[in-house]
Structures are given as structure tokens and as C-alpha cells.
Amino acid sequence: MALDYSQKVMDHFINPRNVGEIENADGIGEAGNPKCGDIMKIYLKVNPDTKVIDDVKFKTFGCASAIASSSMATELIKGRTIEDAWNLTNSAVAEALDGLPPIKMHCSVLAEEAIHEALNDYRAKNGMEIIPMEHHEE
């Protein structure tokens, strides 16, 4: 079945931003599973004083929209505080990509989840309270 992706999705798929890993990352989060065909891993570097996300990288196994969602989500949280980053919703990611096909919306959900996982990993490591997360089953 042919899927029509927006130019933004294709741009972020062909040339994804922030691909890779961060050595000694302050927070690492993973979402998805191989069964559904999507796994997303997010690495964060957080400024200890300002709590601003100085750097973020991702690695993703999945379709074009999963890769584009990861790329866009990392762009949206880079330079933001950890509180701001927590409030990034999946629909904001999808919107920034000029929309995703309905069947691919779960890719943006995955990006939100992976970021939440990474932020909670950071919070746990820094003695902060863990924020409860909703888990989306697929």
C-alpha cells in the first residue's frame, strides 16, 4: 500500500537530524518493540545547572515515519528545559512534520514515549521524582 508522506517527513527520513549515540548520556530512553516493527532509543545530555537539554541523539529501527518522528522530536526538545521537553506531545511532533498518515500516528506516540523514558531515566539518576507514564500498547 503506497503511503503519501509529507515533504517534511521525507526530508527528515532522508536526512535525519541528531542520529547517533551520546557517550555517558545523562538520560537514555527506549520505546517500542521489534514485534510492532518500531524501536526508538533517545540519548540526552542535560546541563546540570540550567536543566536545559544541551544535546540529544537518537537511534531508530522502523519505517520512514518512525525515523522522521524521532528526528523531528529531537529537534523540538533540543535547547529546551527538561520540563518543557516533558510537555512535548505526539501530536506536536506529527504537526511539525505536516501530519502523518493515520496508521502511522503511533510513530509519533513512540517518540513521545522514548523522550519520557529518557527524561525519567535522567530524573532517577539525579534523585528527582519519577513522573508516571502512560504506556501505549500496540
Binding site: 535525519p16 547517533g20 531508530t60 529501527f61 522502523g62
Partner: protein, 395 residues
């Protein structure tokens, strides 16, 4: 470069076929059912096509019934046979877990609305159905055995002649979906004891919108399309004359060059397979090798990458291919065929199929061998699954 490697999805109508079809649109447009002499041309054209298709299968022209598609032929064979058999108390259908959806969804329909008992036979890791399994599944309620001639995704050629012989011995009708196989293999319905066989023109350089069901003389499944008396009262609706003419022509041309095509396709197939195995680490070929595989099918899984990303990267390089990944479909499940072969979900999601044919050249094989390893390597480099996989390999 435009590299079309999806001949299993469809093929272009060949110029000779199109030429044969052209007079049957605006010129000889008469309805074959009409009485006046003008319509005789249409009738004659259909009967010529029927003979061409029959000859290719070693069937009698009276055993060929044109349909709107291969899917319709499958629907007719299954629904028509089961509906009739159920009147005689037989409600069991035997098929396989790797059939095309035209068979699987029809079987599900029969189960849901008619209470048909369906057995889905498993396949081995190369996609082969066991004849023994067919035999063991047969009961005194079995109305039909339907096993595809060759699989559309992985190209595995099933032991159709053996299954045919078994069914003949047990006096159970045997249907085979030959939509892919008929485009590549020599089929002799008599020698192979095939009772019903589905075909489609657009897989063999004919037009879309026309298929056929071979029905062995004496078999009378219930009609599927009800209406007028076309096709000897067995399949209603005004004939798609141009399409039928094109089908006949395509089949005759195909038959005349079958051996030559088989040879060149197999050589290119094997060169592409060997090249990819050599150039891409941990590449897995799905399906069988050698003459048990359709000569034009190449199907790989690349652990760590997902099929749709590969398709889009290949598309950017001008290459058209296909995948069994869910991500290219409207469902979230990967290919039922690859799962039936025992592939893990992530391997099924990472599958890539090239199907070569008349549009393929040696240069195109080189081109794919040139660009695909780089594409796979780049996508693997951004995959956490690949990273995890490498750890398991090292340990």
C-alpha cells in the same frame, strides 16, 4: 535510471498484446451475445483467446472460463465448490498458511458465513507444503484442497503434481492458484492432475482486469457471478473482449519464450542473490534455492532494518521493489507468509523483494548490487536493533 523490479506486482502490457487488443475497443465493439453478423467478430476473438490459453495449459478450450481477475477465479473456485459440496454434507476446506489473500480471505469468509471448517497447512522454513500433511488433513468431509502453485512473496514452488495425484486418488477436487506460476512455469493440467487453476493476465504482460479459471470437464462449482448466459452460463457479465484477446495473445507469446525467459531470469536471479549475500553481512535469503524457486524472485531479510525504509531509499535511487513489512501496508502485521516460514517479526519487517522480468537488464542487476549494500549499511548504523544484534554476534 528507472529500475522496475516488481514484476510480481504487475507487468507492463507488451506492445504486441496491446496491438492485438486495439481493434476490440472502437472498431469491433459488438456484444458477443448479439445475434447479428457484426458480433461474430467479437465471439470469434474470444474463442481464439480461449484456445490460446487452453493450449498453454494442455487443457481443452471448453475448460477455460474468463473472469475479471485472478482473485475472482480464486473466489469462484472456493465459494462455488464449497457451496455446492455443503449441500452434499461436505464442509471441509484444506489450504495453506501461505496463500494469497484472495484465497485466505475467501476461506475466512466461508468459515464465518457458511460454517466451513478450514485447515491451514503449515510450511517448512523454505515455504514448502508437505504432501503428507495434505494426506493427513483429508477427512470424509473434505470438499476441496487448494494449494498455490508458487508463492508470490518468496517464490517457493509447491509439489503441485504430487498433491494433484493424491487428490485424484482420494477423489477430492484440487484447486491451485497459479497467478504467479503461470507466468514462469510450464503447466500441464492433465499430467499434474489439476482440477481447477486460477490465472491472471497482468502478471504475464497482458492487461489488468482479466483472469481465468480452468475447470476440468465435468466439474460444476456453483456460479459466483450471477446474471446473463455468458461463458456458457457459468460466469455472467458482458465479456471484456479486448482484455480477453490480450490475455490470449500474452499467454501465447509467454509460452513461445518460456524456456528462454526461465534461463535468463534464473541466471540474473542467482547473480543478484549471490551478490547480495556476499556484499551485505547477515543477509538472509527467504525461500528456496534453485529450480524450486520462481526464476524471477529474490527475497531477503536484513536484520536491523525495516523494509519500508529500504523501499523508499531504493525509490530515491530509481528502483521499484516490494516488502513484506507491515509498515508498507494498512495493517500493523508483517507478512503472513514470512511468519509462516518461521521468521521472527523483526526479520519479517525487514524483508525486501525484487522480482525481475522482461524490463530487467544485466546493468540493472549491477546497479542494485552497487546501491543496496550502502543503503542497508546506512540504515543499520541508525538502528538500535542492529546494535543489539551485533552484541549477540560478538558474544
Amino acid at each position: 535510471m528507472f529500475v522496475y523490479m516488481d514484476h510480481t506486482a504487475t507487468t507492463p502490457t507488451s506492445p504486441e498484446v496491446l496491438k492485438a487488443m486495439m481493434p476490440y475497443f472502437s472498431e469491433n465493439f459488438g456484444n458477443p451475445s448479439s445475434v447479428y453478423s457484426f458480433s461474430r467478430k467479437s465471439r470469434a476473438a474470444i474463442e481464439k483467446a480461449r484456445s490460446q490459453v487452453a493450449a498453454a495449459l494442455n487443457a481443452d478450450p471448453s475448460e477455460i472460463f474468463f473472469t475479471g481477475s485472478g482473485t475472482e477465479a480464486d473466489n469462484w473456485a472456493l465459494k462455488g465448490t464449497l457451496e455446492k459440496a455443503m449441500k452434499a454434507g461436505k464442509n471441509h476446506l484444506i489450504t495453506t498458511s501461505i496463500e494469497h489473500h484472495a484465497i485466505l480471505h475467501t476461506a475466512e469468509y466461508l468459515k464465518k458465513f457458511h460454517g466451513v471448517d478450514v485447515t491451514y497447512l503449515p510450511v517448512d522454513s523454505e515455504g514448502f507444503v508437505s504432501v503428507k500433511d495434505v494426506e493427513n488433513a483429508i477427512t470424509d468431509k473434505t470438499a476441496l484442497v487448494s494449494v498455490m502453485f508458487a508463492n508470490n512473496e518468496v517464490g517457493t514452488i509447491e509439489p503441485v503434481a504430487e498433491i494433484g495425484a493424491l487428490c485424484r486418488e482420494k477423489k477430492i477436487p484440487f484447486h491451485t492458484d497459479a497467478v504467479q506460476a503461470a507466468a514462469h512455469l510450464d503447466i500441464d493440467v492433465k499430467a499434474m492432475n489439476i482440477d481447477m487453476l486460477s490465472m491472471s493476465a497482468h502478471k504475464m504482460y497482458g492487461p489488468k482486469g482479466v483472469g481465468a479459471l480452468y475447470l476440468k470437464k465435468g466439474l460444476r462449482p456453483e456460479n459466483f457471478v450471477h446474471g446473463g448466459a455468458q461463458e456458457k452460463g457459468r460466469r455472467a457479465s458482458t465479456e471484456n473482449i479486448a482484455g480477453i484477446v490480450g490475455f490470449g495473445e500474452a499467454m501465447e507469446i509467454l509460452k513461445s519464450r518460456l524456456d528462454e525467459d526461465k534461463k535468463i531470469n534464473s541466471e540474473r536471479r542467482d547473480r543478484l542473490i549471490a551478490g547480495l549475500l556476499e556484499k551485505i553481512p547477515h543477509a538472509k535469503l527467504n525461500g528456496a534455492t534453485g529450480d524450486k524457486r520462481l526464476p524471477n524472485n529474490i527475497n531477503f531479510s536484513f536484520i536491523g532494518v525495516e523494509g519500508e525504509t529500504l523501499l523508499l531509499d531504493l525509490d530515491a535511487k530509481g528502483i521499484s521493489a516490494s516488502t513484506g513489512s507491515a509498515c508498507s501496508s494498512e495493517s500493523l502485521d508483517p507478512s503472513h507468509v514470512l511468519l509462516a516460514l518461521g521468521l521472527k517479526h523483526e526479520m519479517a519487517h525487514g524483508s525486501l523483494r525484487f522480482t525481475i522480468g522482461r524490463l530487467t537488464t544485466d546493468e540493472q542487476i549491477d546497479y542494485v548490487l552497487d546501491v543496496l549494500p550502502e543503503i542497508v549499511a546506512r540504515r543499520r548504523a541508525m538502528s538500535p536493533l542492529w546494535e543489539d544484534f551485533l552484541k549477540t554476534v560478538k558474544n
